[in-house]
């Protein structure tokens, strides 16, 4: 496997940070093909351009909240290389002539090293409340603006009106670190690893049935099997890609790209890989995840507030051996029902995970309806 430690290498090897004018910055970021590493995967240049096109001076926010329980890559990055994240924030804020630059970190993270690294820079480091949806763009903007940390109706985008009514650019901390390297070394250098459509490296957090869980940095487009190798995974039939809003992938040789993951309706997202253990029942696992997701609803939007607990209940019935043959279809219907009907991606992401669980583990569901669980058999045999 190509060694590609860029974000996690020693910081003093990066060299001085050039100051770029907005057009030069936009050119470099656009040519690099950098996309958001927080989950959405949106082209970074497009987002910067949206804020730059507004008449008022913007606010730039580095998002280090990392509300996904299976992800720790942002915390590792901030612990290992806070300067790189701050450099990215610095260079964007200067190019945009931003009114404020804020680095928001979760309450779980020791802000000490980050605050220390930010000394002498015009960047505010703010510790904010966590929670699964609190890291969603508009929820973070609301919290930084003194309102409850819940998402807003997306009709007005934060790039139009965010903190103090100013256009607000929210970028994930890993995205900012990549941006700092693009500015230093250029778009061509950035593209030396990864694929043509998805250049550069990404951080992945590996958990589940592995001997050495943790965070790795690999070129985009590496296969799941190769990414997992250093973590020494147990033999497994399925890997959850993208976290609790993600989807299961059963072919570990597919590359971690949009195209490779498409047949599984999965996406790289924020780089979460969770290996399902052979003795773990996927339906029990899914029911517990959806319990958690239902509890993390911001409780603003009716379909999410009502639909997610209902989904969790249906999954618990399937998991515990309720043999009602209507259960899978009803669970699918409920997942479809909540999709697209909330202010944020929480119902959609939760529904994607449920739909993937039902599709990938269809045989397992069939076994439950017949009164037995393949995972129990497997763990008893081993």
């Amino acid at each position: 496997m190509t060694s590609a430690r860029r974000l996690l290498q020693d910081q003093d090897r990066h060299g001085p940070l050039p100051a770029l004018r907005l057009d030069a910055l936009l050119d470099a970021v656009s040519e690099s093909g950098l996309t958001g590493r927080g989950g959405g995967g949106f082209p970074t240049a497009t987002k910067v351009r949206a804020v730059a096109s507004r008449p008022r001076k913007p606010v730039v926010v580095g998002n280090g909240l990392e509300g996904e329980p299976l992800s720790s890559k942002d915390a590792v990055l901030l612990g290992h290389n806070p300067h790189l994240v701050l450099d990215g924030l610095d260079v964007v804020a200067r190019a945009l002539r931003a009114r404020r630059a804020v680095l928001a970190v979760g309450a779980d993270l020791d802000p000490g090293p980050v605050v220390e690294a930010a000394r002498g820079r015009r960047i505010e480091v703010v510790t904010v409340e966590g929670g699964f949806v609190a890291g969603q763009e508009s929820a973070l903007v609301n919290q930084l603006d003194g309102r409850p940390p819940v998402p807003s109706d997306p009709f007005t985008r934060v790039t139009e009106s965010g903190i103090a009514g100013r256009p607000t650019l929210v970028l994930n901390v890993e995205t900012l670190a990549h941006l700092a390297l693009v500015v230093r070394h250029g778009a061509e250098w950035f593209r030396q690893v990864g694929t043509r459509d998805e250049p550069g490296t990404s951080l992945f957090t590996i958990s589940g049935a592995v001997r050495r869980p943790g965070v790795v940095e690999v070129p985009r487009g590496t296969s799941i099997r190769e990414v997992l190798a250093p973590a020494e995974p147990d033999p497994s039939s399925a890997v959850l890609v993208g976290g609790y809003h993600g989807a299961w992938v059963t072919d570990l040789d597919v590359p971690l790209t949009a195209r490779g993951l498409k047949p599984f309706r999965a996406a790289v997202g924020a780089g979460v890989l969770h290996v399902l253990g052979a003795g773990v029942c996927p339906l029990v696992f899914a029911a517990e995840v959806v319990d958690y997701l239902a509890g993390e609803s911001a409780a603003q939007c009716g379909p999410c507030l009502n639909g997610l607990p209902h989904l969790a209940g249906l999954l618990h019935r399937l998991a515990s051996g309720d043999r009602d043959p209507a259960l899978p279809a009803e669970t699918s219907r409920m997942a479809r029902l909540v999709t697209g009907r909330g202010a944020c991606a929480h119902p959609d992401g939760s529904a994607r995970f449920v739909a993937s669980t039902l599709a990938v583990f269809a045989e397992h569901v069939g076994a439950h309806l017949q009164g037995w669980c393949p995972s129990e058999t497997r763990s008893a045999a081993s």
Binding site: V150, P151, S152, D153, F155, Q300, C301, G302, P303, C304, N306, G307, H310, M334, L337, G340, R341, G342, A343
Partner: protein, 81 residues
């Protein structure tokens, strides 16, 4: 010309309490889900409003007790108004 563009109905889910007047005024466009909230029959996030439903849609926007509805158009440049 904006006259040629599609009108869409946006529901602010953070406001909607499922009063149901919109679904009554726009039965062809909106149904009611298991929990009493409006659901677009087309499955679209912001359902397109056919010309024959424009008046009823404006009525629904004005009558929503929590002001959760908004009617907008997207012009050819992608700008909403």
């Amino acid at each position: 010309m904006s006259r040629d563009t599609t009108a869409r109905l946006h529901i602010d889910w953070t406001r909607c309490d499922g009063h149901g007047s919109c679904a009554e005024l726009l039965p062809g466009l909106l149904g009611v889900d298991d929990f009493g909230y409006p659901v677009a029959r087309s499955g679209e996030r912001d359902p397109a409003v056919p010309r024959r439903d424009r008046d009823a849609a404006q009525h629904a926007v004005r009558n929503c007790p929590v002001m959760a509805l908004r009617l907008y158009r997207v012009d050819h440049s992608g700008t909403r108004r």
